[in-house]
Assembly symmetry: C3
Homo-oligomer: 148 residues x 3
């Protein structure tokens, strides 16, 4: 068994979804893990993670517009507005999605479905630098046989 | 330590919740893991996973009806409708729930609460065959002593 | 590699968010895991887990109020009301948030961001005793070198 924790930064240009599948796959490739799982984690409460349809961008436009309507910025009773009108909306949208995603690994590759991409969902209007932690745990290539 | 990745398929009859607790428990039983965790993962973006009250079916009917109202199919501004009026709704409902669930294992058994069941939540109108990956990681029965 | 599963109970005073970061950190400290991940899990379907802004309580008040409006207790068509008007709302709010959170560990510490706290989100009006399971998996301090 083996475990590798690494981190990367993604710079966002404000609200939207940003694919990070390649960066996570690179973390898996760097590990020697042949079968196991990878956990992706964002160290923030105003952006989040989703697995989403990765082919047609219109699916993500619908998703982003849906969240604008579900948690609207012009909510009159929000108290927590110190950092702007996107303050409470960012935290609530994060809670409604995920701070971590766990994806299985087999044959040294993530077992994502054909249409699944990993995306960082930025909820802030302003550009941000977001820290993403990648944790790979499982049977290593050179020690796996002993564990099976 | 030990790790076992397996997969099963569940055939859905269209929209609704389908209990898969037994199939996941079988994956745990096949592993030699005595304490650790099991990750359940769906390889799709138009169905998802939930942990839900497993006793009274009316709880699940309320849940399913709630999602029909929260993300309605007749949303006029949806762009992503190539696969039908359940296209964007399926992706959005998946994002609002989960693609993976992680459940602890102790004494070689999942530590679900009394009323917790694992369900696949199908968001498509048509029947589908859904791939579910089960990853068990932890102390194995015959090697656990050395790890404690 | 090492794995440690432990459990603690948190007594809630009814609806609201209760920080449990310290209890989870104690579970990580008790393990010998230097790098890996910790999974937090609630054994219930009427409370849930979130990672949330931990500094300004107004962020949590907005969140709690938002959920009261998103899944209102006075929904006329709810069938599942055997345990009161907070019955279906509790399950639905759990499904919209999380039953588990996975947080990476490096340098023997959880890699939470500066403003991230782990909270139990109680959806029931009445006080409850909630069981939380903490699973730590990763490279142990005294065996880590062999695994890298």
């Amino acid at each position: 068994m083996s475990c590798l924790v690494s981190e990367f930064v993604i710079s966002t240009r404000g609200k939207g979804t940003y694919e990070i599948t390649e960066q996570v796959a690179a973390g898996v490739a760097r590990s020697r893990v042949e079968s196991g799982s990878v956990t992706v984690f964002v160290r923030h409460t105003s952006c989040s993670l989703i697995l989403m349809e990765n082919a047609d961008p219109s699916a993500r436009r619908d998703l982003e517009k849906f969240f604008e309507q579900l948690v609207p910025e012009n909510t009159s009773w929000f108290e927590h507005t110190a950092e702007g009108r996107d303050d409470s909306t960012s935290h609530i949208r994060s809670v409604l999605t995920r701070s971590s995603e766990v994806i299985p690994i087999a044959n040294h590759e993530m077992q994502l479905g054909t249409w699944q991409g990993i995306f960082l969902f930025e909820h802030r209007r302003a550009p941000h630098r977001r820290q993403v932690v990648v944790t790979v745990i499982g049977n290593a290539l050179d020690s796996g046989a002993a564990n099976r």
